[in-house]
């Protein structure tokens, strides 16, 4: 039964991927990509990786999807001129090489694959967490998570640097000009309370069950964007003091606790005995602020209005 479902899902994923590759309409491709992200998250559920599934649905389908939709809406170059035959063949060959290389790597993996899972489970108690994924992200491999938030901020700086000098620190372009649809305004008033409660739940439950700050932050960013789209809140100023502080607080708290670990626990990003869980929650809360601000501003785009003073 589960095999039949897995097979059906695999076929669906492959067909969707193929359709995305050949479809010509930019907007349709983005919708296809969002669906593809949701299908992939079902695949992760089937592989019992609910944490990855939640992240894939939130980031891969939702956040990336809306980012691409906004880009597609503002490109205004449709219909594309069809690329030349040489271009198409070389792209096809390169993609085939990547696929073949990936397949070869997967097929040559030793069986059973080398795993750190027993080690992770063995030391789980010392982190006072119940969810091994959170333990990996914020205790065993905290450095990776620290670098991840830097990647996010660097991406945001990259987006901001696309704006004109005279708009530096101003708000991004408005979502749409004219009156927002009444249905959208209705949704933007109804949905955020649910979103905030659900995000708080995901954040809190992340210590012991699948969930965590990244998924929770994505939901909060989505709620913020929804309210902005409906014209209830203005586009955030990219130079606003509070928003800059929100962006900085995550890495600052993370690094401060990391360095405090050197005298207190004998290593960068080491947590003193008995304080692991409170410190992890503190880091996650600070990171959540930064991730919400970064994701919202990433989707909003570079400043395109003169700064309000």
């Amino acid at each position: 039964m589960i095999d039949a479902f897995a097979l059906l899902l695999t076929i669906l994923v492959l067909v969707t991927a193929g359709w995305i590759a050949v479809a010509r309409d930019t907007r349709a491709v983005v919708f296809g990509f969002i669906g593809y992200g949701l299908l992939l998250s079902l695949v992760w559920v089937l592989l019992s990786s609910v944490d990855v599934a939640l992240t894939e649905a939130a980031i891969g389908g939702g956040a990336t999807g809306i980012l691409l939709l906004r880009v597609a809406a503002r490109l205004k170059v449709e219909p594309h001129p069809a690329p030349g035959r040489a271009m198409r063949i070389s792209v096809g060959v390169l993609c085939a090489i990547v696929t073949a290389a990936l397949a070869a790597i997967v097929l040559t993996l030793p069986d059973p694959a080398p795993s750190l899972a027993p080690l992770t489970a063995e030391h789980l108690a010392s982190t006072e967490l119940g969810n091994p994924v959170t333990a990996v992200l914020l205790a065993y491999r905290a450095l990776d998570t620290l670098l991840e938030i830097f990647v996010l901020l660097l991406a945001l700086i990259g987006v901001w640097s696309l704006g004109a000098d005279r708009y530096w620190g101003g708000a991004p372009a408005e979502w749409n000009t004219g009156m927002p649809a009444p249905a959208l305004a209705f949704l933007a008033r109804i949905l955020p309370p649910f979103g905030i409660v659900f995000a708080a739940y995901l954040f809190w439950v992340g210590a012991d069950e699948p969930g965590g700050k990244f998924q929770a932050s994505t939901i909060l960013a989505a709620m913020w964007l929804l309210v902005v789209m409906a014209g209830i809140l203005p586009m955030p100023q990219t130079g606003g003091r509070r928003i800059r502080a929100a962006l900085a607080i995550g890495p600052v708290v993370f690094i401060a606790i990391g360095f405090a670990g050197i005298p207190m626990a004998g290593g960068f990003l080491a947590y003193p005995e008995g304080f692991a869980k409170p410190l992890i929650i503190l880091i996650e809360a600070a990171l959540a602020f930064s991730i919400v601000a970064a994701l919202t501003l990433l989707v909003a785009g570079p400043a395109e209005q003169a700064p309000r003073s």
Partner: protein, 94 residues
């Protein structure tokens, strides 16, 4: 008693699945965006509603049942707003 409830579940979920099937056929076969939206919303509210109604007797706790109903309500809000937006877009550029 439990046999009756199980039969109820099978009947309701099957009816829900039928509406999803009909909605999909409508999406593929109907001529313009508005009628396609009409077909889709039937799958959303009747299809999902019947599936959840069918699943209610199978829930272990009252809270679980409430969550299922809440899922349906949220889908109602989301899909009705989304179809309003799509319909506006379809009317604006025929």
């Amino acid at each position: 008693m439990s046999l009756g409830l199980n039969i109820f579940t099978v009947l309701m979920v099957s009816a829900g699945a039928f509406f999803f099937l009909a909605g999909t056929v409508g999406l593929l076969r109907f001529p313009d965006p508005l009628t396609r939206l009409h077909a889709l919303t039937k799958a959303d509210n009747l299809g999902l509603g019947l599936v959840i109604l069918g699943l209610l007797p199978q829930t272990v706790s009252l809270l679980g049942g409430l969550k299922l109903v809440l899922v349906w309500v949220l889908v109602q809000i989301g899909s009705s707003a989304a179809s309003q937006l799509l319909a506006r877009l379809a009317l604006r550029r025929p």
